[in-house]
């Protein structure tokens, strides 16, 4: 549960990262500046520390040297007078310890120096009170393990003690130097321990200041990056929005051009492109409007004379018994062709209505089971004439869709008429009805000539014929399937065709349960169950996949495959 939420958050972050240039610019800039500031800070720190210590060490060694010199002077001045070595030792070290207490350093006098002896830990060393003598590192001690060693210094931790317990430790410098005590002629080592507390405090102060400066700098850089990215990104975002609106058909949308920079020039070019596109689209729209208008006008203008001709034809047809055979036949032909002319004109008008976008839906809850039965009943005479059997297969529940019953019936009627038209002699046409809570569908299956590969997408084209040489037997106008497709689109549904040469064809109409709701799948498979086995196996996996995306109904090649 938590992991899933974490993964979800990660995906959101990743999506945001991929989608926002601004976020990417700011984050990369901040990361890079953190690295840069870190490197510079580290370098500065090292320099400051080295500078501070070098300076202090210089001072300390000078002071130690002067103390040693002072001690030597005192010793040489006192030589020979006092022969008590321990007294002389105390005389030597006491003033230095006192001076050290006022000037802030500790002193250790160790010795005498001898092979394998004279170490501080062995005892007998004189040192400042409250100093932990282990503060003198052994490495320095071993340097002074023999007489005649030169002055040396090293860093150490100066530990103090109170009541035998170690109390605190501060960093410090320890300088060692050897003096010869005239009283016993032995060499003793003087250690001066100078604390570096002050330098450490200074260094901490510098580090704090630098850290604060670094944080401020990074924040500042982030802010600058954000601002700069915003300046660049916001015109791009605006361009995107305008482009989207243009794509949605708001052709008058333009970008605001301010200044003369690169972005302004981009906006200018964008606007020029939009204007050019607008011009082209307008021109095309005008052309197609003129054409549509013409189709519509012609169809309308033809109607009145056609009505007159039609009536005249009827009068002649009714009176054909009184004509000689040739004239009577002419009257019959006239009648038949007038029927065809009328159907064609009706279909043309219907198409022009779709093209003009004036077709409107009058939706109601329609049970496709009823539609299938009604269409089958009304198509029965035509089927009988062609000696074709019509079978309706319905589920035991109603298959309801919100639809315009007039249009849906027309679609199904067209599909059935088309099937009858293409069915073989003594063929059977199956009408399947199916439905679920999201959609309802009707499929019309025939076992006629079928469709060649690629034809499934073309059958919906206006005036398209599978075989131009083949005669139309039922007098279809060639617009029926185009009108059906337009009707289906009006409902937001699918109209798809499947066919194989010699195996017949199946047309499937799928309507969403609610008009305009998106369709995901159809309750009836497009490829009929009785299709040749290899084809079914070949198609099934794709058909069973949960979300193959909306297929191109009728217009795309995938209409054939689904």
């Amino acid at each position: 549960m938590f992991r899933i939420r974490g993964r979800l958050a990660l995906r959101h972050t990743w999506a945001f990262w991929r989608r926002s240039i601004q976020a990417r610019v700011v984050v990369t800039t901040v990361l890079l500046s953190i690295v840069a500031v870190g490197v510079v800070g580290w370098f500065l720190m090292q320099r400051t520390r080295a500078g501070l210590l070098d300076h202090r060490v210089g001072l300390v060694t000078t002071e130690a040297a002067s103390e040693v010199q002072d001690a030597r002077n005192r010793l040489s001045a006192a030589s020979g007078i006092d022969v008590d070595a321990s007294g002389q030792r105390r005389d030597l070290v006491e003033p230095i310890i006192q001076r050290g207490q006022t000037r802030g350093f500790d002193v250790v006098l160790a010795g005498p120096v001898s092979e394998g002896g004279g170490r501080i830990a062995d005892g007998g060393a004189e040192f400042s009170p409250s100093l932990d003598v282990t503060s003198v590192p052994e490495s320095l001690e071993s340097h002074f393990s023999s007489p005649g060693a030169s002055t040396a210094w090293t860093y150490t931790q100066i530990r103090s003690q109170s009541g035998g317990q170690p109390a605190s430790a501060v960093p410090g410098v320890v300088v060692g130097s050897q003096v010869e005590l005239p009283a016993d002629g032995q060499t003793y080592t003087l250690y001066f321990l100078f604390p570096l507390q002050e330098e450490q405090d200074t260094l901490h102060l510098v580090i704090r200041a630098m850290a604060a400066a670094a944080i401020l700098l990074v924040v500042l850089v982030a802010g600058v990056a954000w601002l700069v990215a915003r300046q660049v990104v916001s015109p791009i975002r605006m361009a995107r929005q305008v482009a989207e609106r243009l794509a949605a058909g708001q052709l008058t949308e333009r970008l605001r051009v301010t200044g003369e920079d690169d972005l302004a020039r981009l906006a200018l070019s964008f606007n020029q492109m939009a204007t050019a596109l607008q011009g082209q689209i307008r021109q095309l729209e005008d052309l197609s409007r003129v054409q549509r208008r013409f189709t519509s006008d012609v169809s309308h203008e033809l109607r009145t004379p056609l009505t007159t001709v039609r009536m005249a034809g009827d009068v002649l047809h009714d009176a054909r018994d009184t004509f000689d055979p040739a004239t009577a036949r002419a009257a019959e032909l006239l009648q038949g062709e007038l029927d065809r002319f009328e159907r064609l004109l009706g279909d043309l008008l219907e198409i022009s209505r779709f093209d003009a976008g004036v077709a409107v839906l009058e939706t109601d809850d329609v049970n496709l089971v009823d539609v299938a039965y009604r269409v089958a009943e009304s198509s029965q005479p035509l089927a009988e004439k062609r000696n074709v059997e019509l079978a309706v297969h319905v589920p035991d529940h109603p298959c309801v869709a919100e639809a315009d019953v007039r249009r849906v019936e027309r679609v199904v009627r067209n599909l059935v008429a088309n099937a009858i038209d293409h069915a073989g002699e003594s063929d059977r046409i199956d009408v399947y009805v199916g439905g679920d809570e999201h959609s309802a569908a009707i499929a019309v299956r025939d076992h006629g000539v079928g469709l060649a590969p690629g034809e499934a997408a073309m059958v919906f084209n206006r005036f398209w014929r599978a075989d131009p040489a083949r005669a139309r037997t039922t007098g279809g106008t060639g617009l029926g399937l185009s009108i059906s497709l337009e009707d289906t689109h009006l409902h937001g549904g699918w109209l798809q065709a499947w066919g194989r040469p010699g195996e017949g064809a199946q047309f499937r109409l799928t309507l969403p349960r609610r008009a305009g709701a998106p369709l995901r799948r159809s309750p009836i498979p497009l490829v009929p169950r009785d299709a040749p086995h290899d084809i079914v196996r070949q198609i099934r996996p794709a058909d069973a996949s949960p979300n193959p995306g909306p297929p191109h109904d009728g217009t795309g090649p995938s209409g054939e495959e689904r």
């Binding site: 309308h300 109607r303 009145t304 004379p305 056609l306 009505t307 007159t308 039609r310 009536m311 005249a312 009827d314 009068v315 009328e342 004109l345 008008l349 209505r353 004036v358 409107v360 009058e362 109601d364 809850d365 007039r406």
Partner: protein, 253 residues
Amino acid sequence: MSPYAEPVEIPRLARRPYTRAVTSESLSAQGRVLVVDDDASLAEMLSIVLRQEGFDTATVHRGDQALEAFHRHRPDVVLLDLMLPGIDGIEVCRQIRRESGVPIVMLTAKGDTIDVVTGLESGADDYVVKPFKPKELIARIRARVRRFDAQVDEPLTIGDLTIDVAGHKVTRAGTPINLTPLEFDLLVCLARKPHQVFSREVLLEQVWGYRHAADTRLVNVHVQRLRSKVEHDPENPEIVVTVRGVGYKAGTP
């Protein structure tokens, strides 16, 4: 002997009865049709066909002459083209409807919803879309002229209305309500079987005389018109009640 040899009961508004000269010619005729169409050929052709079917005809080619011709000829049915010079068919329809309930059948070159609905709302009873089959037109006209057969003469009630079928009168608490013959027929049809729900298709068959499925908008528009005349509140109908997904039925009294 034609089944329509008897002069047909002419639909009229109770308020404005008009008499027809019963001549020997009109005895044999099924009725008089006024053709209002600007296309001379079509008007003449219509006359020929209608005469063949035994109707009397009169033609007029301009919209602004239609009303005057209507007064002169007193037709039983008006065939009205929608596109007319002078004033258009919709306006002619309104003019005629203002003074008579005579059946009006529109001839329209457009099957678009809006034109048909406008025509029906302006008072037309029915419409045929050009190009129509002559037989279809004759069937429409006959259906309008023949009328609903008055089989029973007992007064019917629907809601708080009383219908005198023989006298073609609808009254509410003694006050007569003016209905066109078509609206009257629609109301009678519903009132005769108060418990039956009528689908639009059934009403089209029984009231308009369509044998095949036709445009159910006819029913919708006329139910609206009827409601606007008989309902107390047309928004909440109590006399002609919609049964969603099925059709209409008479409201309970």
